[in-house]
């Protein structure tokens, strides 16, 4: 089984496409088949996790020449930084498929098939080590998301999805331009084409203005996907118009791809420039935390409120990334899972509210704790996890990030810490309005959590509690990779400025000019 990683990507991709083709004529087969494929993929991911060796760095590598003339190859590998995303993605997809299966909204078979394609894009992005391949999967992620939102979203889905695609594609195209420019730099230095990340890491750019532009070119696509303030304006519309199950995946998984891209591509390519630009980006991240929190306080709609809270929390992750010491990076990796679980679970719970009560307006709901104690307690648990109550998982991640930030720039840490209090404010106020007080409900029947849904939500609850109390399994596997990563960043290397004009002309051309 040397092709485990490929199998992980191509099983859902091929499966999804085949099921998409069958979704009209053999509708009854598609849903169980999709669930089966997602389950098998989860087992494969578990196998990957089982075989993973914490000390080994990049492993389970697969390399195939694709377009050798241009240095494009099919290159996959996994390390401690990507491991937990690779585990998280199949779990979340399976949960989303199960929720869709038991939903009263009767999602059509094509929905299930597209979710599988989405999974393939996500996994591919996480595992690719060649920039060309990375870009391919990065875009592959977008197409299913486009159809998932555009076909099954809320009433204003069309402008929302258009905005979403334009924002992300604009970032992607700038990213593509940067890839090409970097490729040309590599070519003019070495005389051959390569888009392999490990090779490009060696190509240290200097501190000049061109290098800075390139840095932002590589960061833009990821910062839009996260999104970082002020690139966030697509987020509230998209998150609130998408089907809530899809929002669960967008906030839980797709936003993480932005953080992962920063970690995997932007920072290792430009370690010199971090010193210069990290303060600006950190300040923007803090602005994002505050902005998201304040905007969340003002929302009247549940989905939008949690969307803004997600924005606020994602900004904290950006802060962790741009502090790049051991504590903050470990914290970031850990908090990526936490945020996915807590915010994801909140979105799932909102999807239940939406389905049962037919509304997500906070003013129309109230006192749900009296009606559905089980639902209310789950909602409360996830709220606590999201605001970082000690003993639950959110606390560990936030603590580590804040620790890392404070040791580096105490003032920044102080700022971030204080602003996090705001998250407690809006979330607790939300629970107060939603769960307590006099009962307000547009429908007579109380919301019931059926057995299936309890089973589906159980892993998220378990994760919240276990990851808050027992952190060792995660850190055991990430520490070595993060240390290697930091070593790579701090390695002294020959630095050369990227060039725009004639001094890199090929020899033959220079002669003509001469």
């Amino acid at each position: 089984m040397n092709h485990l990683l490929s199998l992980l990507i191509f099983l859902p991709l091929v499966g999804g496409l085949v099921l998409l083709a069958l979704s009209r004529k053999f509708a009854s087969v598609v849903k169980p088949a999709a669930l089966g494929i997602a389950l098998i993929n989860l087992l494969l991911a578990a196998l990957v996790g089982f075989r993973f060796q914490p000390q080994a760095g990049f492993q389970m590598e697969e390399k195939l020449a694709w377009i050798p003339k241009m240095g494009i190859e099919y290159h996959l590998a996994i390390d401690g930084i990507s491991l937990f995303l690779v585990l998280l993605i199949p779990i979340f997809i399976l949960i989303a498929l199960c929720m869709a299966q038991f939903s009263k909204n009767a999602y059509p078979p094509a929905f299930f098939a597209l979710l599988l394609c989405f999974e393939a894009g996500l996994l591919g992005t996480t595992l690719a080590l060649n920039l060309f391949l990375f870009y391919l999967f990065w875009e592959l992620m977008l197409i299913p998301a486009f159809f998932l939102i555009g076909l099954w979203g809320g009433p204003k889905r069309k402008p929302a999805v258009l905005k979403f695609v334009i924002y992300t594609m604009a970032g992607s195209l700038v990213f593509l331009l940067s890839i090409l420019f970097l490729g040309v730099q590599f070519y003019s230095k070495t005389g051959e084409w390569s888009f392999a990340l490990p090779q490009l890491y060696q190509l240290r750019m200097g501190m000049g203005p061109v290098a800075s532009l390139l840095f932002f070119g590589f960061a833009l696509a990821f910062l839009i996907k996260v999104p970082l303030f002020p690139l966030h304006t697509w987020l509230p519309d998209t998150y609130s118009e998408a089907p809530t199950i899809v929002t669960f995946l967008l906030s839980g998984l797709m936003a993480k791809m932005g953080i992962y891209g920063l970690l995997r591509i932007t920072i290792p390519l430009f370690p010199q420039l971090l010193e210069r630009w990290a303060p600006l980006l950190s300040l923007l991240a803090i602005a994002g935390i505050v902005y998201g929190a304040i905007a969340a306080l003002g929302q009247t709609n549940l989905k939008r409120l949690i969307a803004y809270s997600s924005l606020s929390h994602m900004s904290l992750l950006v802060l962790g990334v741009f502090t790049w010491n051991l504590a903050s990076l470990q914290g970031t990796l850990y908090h990526m899972i936490n945020h996915a679980v807590a915010t994801g679970a909140l979105f799932l719970l909102v999807s239940l509210i939406e389905e049962h009560y037919g509304t997500t307006e906070i003013a129309e709901l109230g006192g749900l704790a009296k009606e559905t104690p089980l639902f209310a307690s789950l909602f409360l648990l996830m709220t606590f996890a999201s605001i970082g109550v000690p003993g639950l998982n959110g606390f560990v991640g936030e603590f580590l990030i804040l620790l890392g930030v404070t040791t580096q720039v105490p003032l920044l840490g102080l700022g971030a810490g204080l602003t996090l209090i705001l998250s407690a404010a809006y979330m607790l106020w939300l629970t107060q309005r939603l769960l307590f007080g006099p009962l307000k409900s547009p429908v007579a029947e109380p919301l019931k959590l059926c057995r299936y849904r309890q089973i589906v939500l159980a892993p998220l609850v378990l994760a919240v509690v276990l990851m808050g109390l027992y952190t060792q399994p995660v850190f055991e596997r990430t520490t070595a990779s993060v240390r290697q990563y930091l070593q790579m960043l701090h390695q002294p290397q020959q630095v050369s400025e990227p060039t725009l004009l004639s001094d890199t002309l090929p020899a033959s051309e220079a002669q003509i000019h001469g």
Binding site: R24, I143, R157, I166, L176, L500
Partner: protein, 492 residues
């Protein structure tokens, strides 16, 4: 026969055109449905003759003392143009049937145009090039206004004719000035003259006029104003023909003239072409955004693609070697294939009547005809540049080549323009999939397998070209895999 073989590709279409004309007169009315079939066979013969001629004169390729050259470059274009003409004839037969128009002249005009285009692709002399270009233009003027009772067709043809003939005049004047300073119209003699002699203002003037004339013909902004009207007025198959074959042929000319003849004058034209490219990319994409008529939108989108191709032409000048040509040809190939697929589908969809060409008429296509919608969506996604489709790799390769020629600014504008283009391409996909079926929708009565097959083949080719571009990278000076394959199957 051996002496005659090299001239077959250019003369066979004329012969077939005459045969079709005569058949149109002498064949009994009932049997005239055979005309398109005869023409299709004819085009296939032309393509085969192009391959045979190439093999007969290889490796030197020069005939008529260097007036014409049959190299891989001209072979590539001969095959591409034959395919485009073949598909146009295929879809035209439905359109002629619908509107009750005479078939013979239409098909004959296509043949004459093909002959001119093949001449364009293989000519190395300014006068021959001009004559070839005129053959092409004349045929297309008539084809645009073929439906003479249609006001829009008349308007389009008239505008196209007026502006086109002015462009021809400019071109000819430029050629005359160049001849005045070089005393030759052969491209390689012009090249060798200017690489040793000083550049006179006369020559620069001539070059500028030639450039403006050609900019008219490829519809580069600000010389593009005829194209939306001509595209809108023409019937769908003819619009497709103009957007694919004619555009590719003019680019064959442009690349040959600038890359081979005027390469030593590059200090004069590189910046002009760069400015044209910037204007064309931005203008085409911005104007395409506001269109509601799908033909006009495709006209502007084709202008935008012209802009991307023009950036590639600047790379031609700044960088020695064939890489830029290879990137340009790859881009053209993908562009032509995608457009052919799109126009085949649109021909079928508008086979009820020509008024069904608003973008909103495509509403609900995803539900009603899932396969057609899938093919169209794939081609539009390819235009947007979603990997691994051909359109993405075409842009990737082209932009990389231009960047390698140190034109960061141009590529930056190209990326900005591509961002603009997302909106209008994506809107079509959204209309097809996310809108309910239009109420006044009349389903096409016929479901021709052939047009479906064209769409399918084009979509697949675009997908495959992007997924495994390694075979296409050898296009220039290659195309050898194809030839070897042909030899292997003992077709020739």
């Amino acid at each position: 026969m051996d002496k005659l073989l090299p001239f077959l590709p250019v003369s066979l279409p004329v012969l077939f055109g005459l045969i079709v004309l005569l058949l149109g007169v002498f064949l009994p009315l009932k049997q005239r449905y055979l005309l398109p079939h005869v023409s299709l066979v004819g085009v296939a013969f032309v393509a085969l003759s192009a391959i045979a001629a190439y093999k007969a004169v290889a490796p030197n390729g020069e005939i008529l003392g260097g007036y014409l050259i049959l190299d891989t470059y001209s072979l590539f274009f001969s095959l591409l143009l034959s395919v485009a003409t073949f598909i146009t004839m295929l879809s035209a037969s439905f359109y002629l049937e619908r509107d009750g128009l005479v078939k013979a002249e239409f098909l004959a005009l296509l043949f004459f145009c093909l002959s001119g285009m093949l001449l364009l692709a293989s000519s190395r002399d300014l006068i021959t090039l001009f004559v070839a270009l005129e053959i092409v233009s004349m045929s297309v003027y008539v084809l645009v206004g073929y439906d003479r009772d249609n006001l829009k067709a008349n308007e389009g043809a008239f505008k196209y004719f007026l502006l086109g003939s002015m462009a021809s005049a400019l071109l000819l004047y430029g050629i005359a000035l160049l001849y005045g300073s070089v005393a030759s119209t052969r491209l390689y003699q012009i090249h060798s003259y200017f690489s040793t002699h000083a550049h006179e203002p006369l020559a620069a003037m001539g070059l500028l006029l030639v450039l403006v004339g050609l900019a008219f013909k490829v519809a580069a902004v600000p010389f593009h104003t005829w194209s939306p009207d001509a595209y809108e007025g023409a019937s769908m198959p003819v619009t497709g023909f103009m957007a694919t074959a004619v555009k590719a042929a003019v680019f064959a000319l442009l690349i040959r003239v600038l890359g081979e003849g005027f390469i030593s004058l590059k200090t004069y034209w590189v910046e002009v072409v760069a400015i044209l490219a910037v204007l064309t990319m931005l203008g085409g994409n911005i104007l395409a955004y506001t269109q509601r008529n799908i033909k006009r939108m495709l006209a502007y989108s084709s202008i935008a693609h012209t802009g991307y191709l023009l950036t590639g032409i600047t790379a031609l000048a700044l960088q020695p070697g064939n890489e830029a040509v290879s990137a340009l040809l790859y881009y053209l190939l993908i562009y032509v294939l995608s457009s052919l697929g799109i126009f085949a589908a649109l021909t079928w969809l508008s086979s009820q009547n020509e008024s069904l060409v608003q973008i909103s008429d495509l509403a609900g296509l995803g539900k009603k005809y899932p396969l057609t919608a899938l093919g169209l969506a794939l081609l539009f996604f390819s235009f947007i540049g979603i990997p691994p489709l051909g359109g993405f790799f075409a842009k990737y390769y082209l932009f990389l080549t231009v960047l390698k020629a140190h034109q960061l600014f141009l590529v930056g504008v190209a990326v900005l323009a591509s961002i603009l283009s997302i909106v209008y391409y994506l809107k079509i996909v959204m209309v097809m999939y996310m809108e309910p079926l239009a109420e006044h929708w009349e389903a096409p009565r016929i479901r021709p397998v052939s047009l479906g097959a064209v769409l399918g083949c084009c979509s697949f080719a675009v997908f495959w070209a992007g997924f495994a571009p390694v075979n296409f990278l050898n296009v220039f000076p290659g195309l050898l895999p194809l030839l070897e394959w042909l030899q292997y199957t003992s077709l020739i």
